[in-house]
């Protein structure tokens, strides 16, 4: 793991041009899960997964994963 790490992260999204990126993180999470629901475990969905992992704090992701398991996730999955 030492040496070169490719410096890449979630790109700036023109849908969320302002300082508040809460919706950006939420939208990427939802996009990933909708991609999974539509296409199954494919490599294309992995892109969205990287985006939401870059943007969203780990605690938020854990909480949402819990909510999805319990069926209480407040979003259009």
């Amino acid at each position: 793991m030492a040496g070169e790490i490719a410096l890449k992260t979630a790109p700036a999204d023109f849908r969320f041009p302002t300082t508040n990126q809460t919706r950006h993180c939420f939208t990427r999470y939802i996009e990933f899960h909708r991609c999974l629901a539509a296409k199954g475990e494919s490599n294309e969905c992995e892109r969205f997964a990287k985006y939401y992992r870059s943007l969203c704090p780990g605690e938020w992701v854990e909480r949402w994963n819990e909510q999805r398991k319990n069926g209480t996730f407040p979003g259009p999955l």
Partner: protein, 260 residues
């Protein structure tokens, strides 16, 4: 001779608060340099107005002293001067507004996609930093806590209430996106030499884009009252050369005992 030169002629950048400091810390990002330049622009007009007002004031006090000039004048109108003193002060803010708005809007403009996203999460009373660009699952991000070193544990030469155990390592001359949030109460992530002060609000992700232009260690402090130890949560950003960034980060992925 060389030693003397090295001691006295190298310019050490000021990237932490100094005792009795009056001016800004040295700029480390283009944003901060823009802020300093705007300050210089405004200060010019400020001095102009200050000198003018002081002169009028002193002149009035001097020439219209009650002993020298017992009968005050009774002029109440003067159309020309009234027009002038309305127009002229409204032109000055226009000159100030031009660089001010230019800076304001350019600060928000994100022209280049960031290369790295770092999450700075405020807690009572420490910071957590997450570097999650490299995970392959939800679990593995590089996450570490950053506590201010208590006074008793400081080594010689370290700054009191500013040093932390784990610094935020960033590559220099790289576009960074810093996402600031909080896990409990509002905090604020501030690094003056980078021109950054961003509130950490629970439930909200605030994004700042910076590009640190030189290597160095930059200090900042929590800027939103967050409880008893608000003064004891500091921030230290260490900018390293881009090629060293990979090894620094991977070193931190292996849990370390001892120095950061």
């Amino acid at each position: 001779m060389i030693v003397l030169e090295w001691l006295f002629l190298t310019i050490a950048a000021c990237d932490a608060a100094e005792p009795w400091q009056l001016g800004f810390q040295d700029a480390a990002t283009p944003m901060m340099q823009g802020i300093i330049d705007l300050h210089h622009d405004i200060f010019f007009f400020l001095i102009l107005i200050l000198v003018f007002v002081l002169r009028i004031l002193v002149r009035a006090l001097w020439h219209f002293h009650y002993q020298k000039n017992p009968i005050p004048q009774r002029i109440v109108h003067g159309t020309t001067i009234e027009i002038l003193r309305t127009i002229f002060p409204s032109i000055i803010p226009m000159f100030i507004a031009i660089p001010s708005f230019a800076l304001l809007y350019s600060m928000d403009e994100v022209v280049v996609d960031p290369a790295i996203t770092i999450k700075a999460i405020g807690h009572q009373w420490y910071r957590t930093y997450e570097y999650s660009d490299y995970n392959s699952s939800d679990e593995q991000s590089l996450t570490f806590d950053s506590y201010t070193i208590p006074e008793d544990d400081l080594e010689l030469g370290q700054s009191r209430l500013l040093e932390v155990d784990n610094r935020v390592v960033v590559p220099a001359k790289t576009h960074l996106r810093i996402i600031v949030t909080s896990a409990d109460v509002p905090h604020s992530w501030a690094v003056p030499s980078s021109g950054v002060k961003c509130d950490a609000v629970p439930g909200r992700l605030n994004q700042i884009s910076i590009s640190v232009q030189r290597e160095g260690v930059y200090y900042g402090q929590c800027s939103e009252i967050c409880g008893t130890n608000h003064a004891f949560t500091s921030i230290v950003v260490e900018a390293v050369p881009r090629k060293d960034y990979g090894s620094r980060v991977s070193n931190q992925l292996i849990p370390q005992t001892g120095e950061a």
